[in-house]
């Protein structure tokens, strides 16, 4: 027979169950509110508005494909770029720096053309803005023991929070001399094509939006575009399967993946 003392009441099975149910319901409703279908459409934005773009790069093929797909990136719109790279990935670091040099070169050529062709109205010189390269520890190294994996995954998640909070003051390269740290906090847009790190970055952004820390959700920050790798012809990658219902846009590059997970959008091949 259960005694009806207050302590016994709150430790009773049915009470714990009720609290758990209410908790789960609240969390579910909150998560549903974060999902892409409930997200407000983006407000109109003018060129020159400080806009932080976060690009998650992965090893080898992922990086080459991502930067190739971004060939049309306009640095006057995306005024600060953060490249997220796994520690030890020298290839991606070099490719990101090379990509930034190509943006600068394109900008310089454009301005030179305007100088030569004096008939054309000189555009306001906004330049190519700024960028930083953020290194995250790997969630799991190859051959790492399973025991220590949760710890290193947590360390990776923690690094992702810091990267999302603000661009790094120390590694930011300012190309037009207009860099002011206070212009930027959370990324406005996250773009990735699905290396493992991308799952952790997007998980971190979801946690920040869940608790609406510093207005992560209410200010409409961290919209996400996932581009499934061109190498995926018939089935999604693991990252793709994990993120298909979470990201704001889910793009596929093969027609037969159109509508996959009820989300896949085929708009053609981005890889080049």
């Amino acid at each position: 027979m259960t005694p009806h003392t207050p302590l016994a009441l709150i430790t009773s099975y049915s009470f714990v169950l009720a609290v758990a149910l209410v908790g789960i319901l609240a969390i579910t409703l909150r998560l549903l509110a974060l999902f892409p279908s409930r997200r407000l459409p983006p407000p109109k934005r003018r060129i020159g508005t400080p806009t932080r773009l976060l690009i998650v790069l992965g090893s080898g093929g992922h990086t080459a494909e991502m930067l190739g797909a971004l060939h049309g990136l306009d640095p006057r719109k995306y005024t600060h770029r953060t490249y997220v790279i796994s520690s030890g990935d020298v290839f991606s670091t070099e490719k990101a720096a090379e990509f930034e040099r190509s943006l600068e070169l394109k900008d310089a050529t454009k301005r030179l053309d305007q100088l030569i062709d004096m008939n054309e109205q000189m555009q306001e010189r906004t330049g190519t803005g700024s960028y930083d390269i953020a290194i995250v520890p790997r969630a799991r190294r190859i051959h790492q023991s399973l025991l220590s994996t949760p710890l290193s995954a947590l360390r990776c998640l923690w690094a992702c929070f810091n990267i999302l909070m603000a661009p790094s003051n120390t590694t930011t390269v300012s190309l037009a001399g207009r860099w002011r740290a206070e212009l930027y906090d959370y990324p406005d847009l996250i773009v990735t094509n699905g290396p493992a790190t991308a799952v952790i970055v997007i998980l971190a952004s979801l946690i920040l939006r869940f608790f609406d820390i510093k207005g992560a959700n209410s200010r409409g920050k961290m919209r996400t575009i996932y581009v499934e790798s061109w190498a995926r012809v018939k089935r999604l990658s693991l990252s793709g399967r994990l993120l298909v219902r979470i990201v704001d846009r889910f793009l596929v590059q093969w027609e037969r993946l159109q509508g996959v997970g009820e989300r896949g959008e085929y708009l053609g091949v981005f890889a080049r």
Partner: protein, 199 residues
């Protein structure tokens, strides 16, 4: 091992990528039957990017080749280049005074796209040792669309012959009318939609 000064350079460049070992491709590309088919097709050079773990097998086989037979083919190798393979891919494509060569690649998307971009024929050989082998699907699909030769480890000489057919076809990349409204697809456009940059 001197190449005749007047003889034009023709390079077969083999790349196994940066991530996984692919020793079976290295040994398949050093088989006598394959080397003969390269010579027969007029190739002068074979360059193999063998990866971190491929040096032992590359050194072992090439030393045996040199002792048994005088090769007409110049065979060289290197492990990996952090700054990319632009130079090697370009050399396979060939300069204005060279003959066009060929690339043989593990089915990594980076190397395939690179070859399509500079339009050098590519033979794609998926690694059968990888667990989730979506690369086979990519190779099959691209071959059915006429962009690559899907090579098999046990029959690379046939792939060299097929690559000549590929060279004649030479489809452009990216597909010009693959995107919306028949234009090339553009990720920047989708990003602008998400950000509200609407002109």
């Amino acid at each position: 091992m001197s190449v005749d000064e007047k003889k034009q350079l023709r390079l077969c460049f083999v790349t196994i990528g940066a991530t996984a070992a692919f020793n079976s491709l290295i040994s398949a590309c050093l088989e006598p039957r394959f080397l003969e088919s390269l010579s027969g097709a007029g190739y002068t050079n074979l360059l193999i990017q063998y990866g971190k773990e491929g040096k032992a097998i590359f050194d072992k086989i090439t030393s045996e080749i040199k002792t048994t037979k005088k090769m007409e083919l110049v065979i060289t190798g290197f492990d990996f280049n952090h700054s990319g393979l632009d130079k090697e891919m370009g050399a396979a494509k060939g300069g204005p005074n060279d003959l066009q060569g060929v690339v043989i690649s593990h089915a990594g998307s980076g190397s395939i796209l690179h070859a399509l971009r500079i339009s050098v024929p590519i033979i794609v050989v998926p690694n059968p040792d990888l667990l989730d082998n979506h690369q086979v699907e990519l190779a099959e699909e691209l071959e059915s669309q006429g962009y690559v030769v899907h090579g098999k480890l046990n029959n690379l000489p046939a792939a060299i012959l097929e690559s000549e057919e590929l060279r004649k076809r030479s489809l452009g990349w990216p597909p010009v009318n693959s995107g919306r409204h028949g234009r090339a697809a553009d990720l920047a456009g989708v990003m602008d939609e998400e950000m509200g940059f609407l002109d």
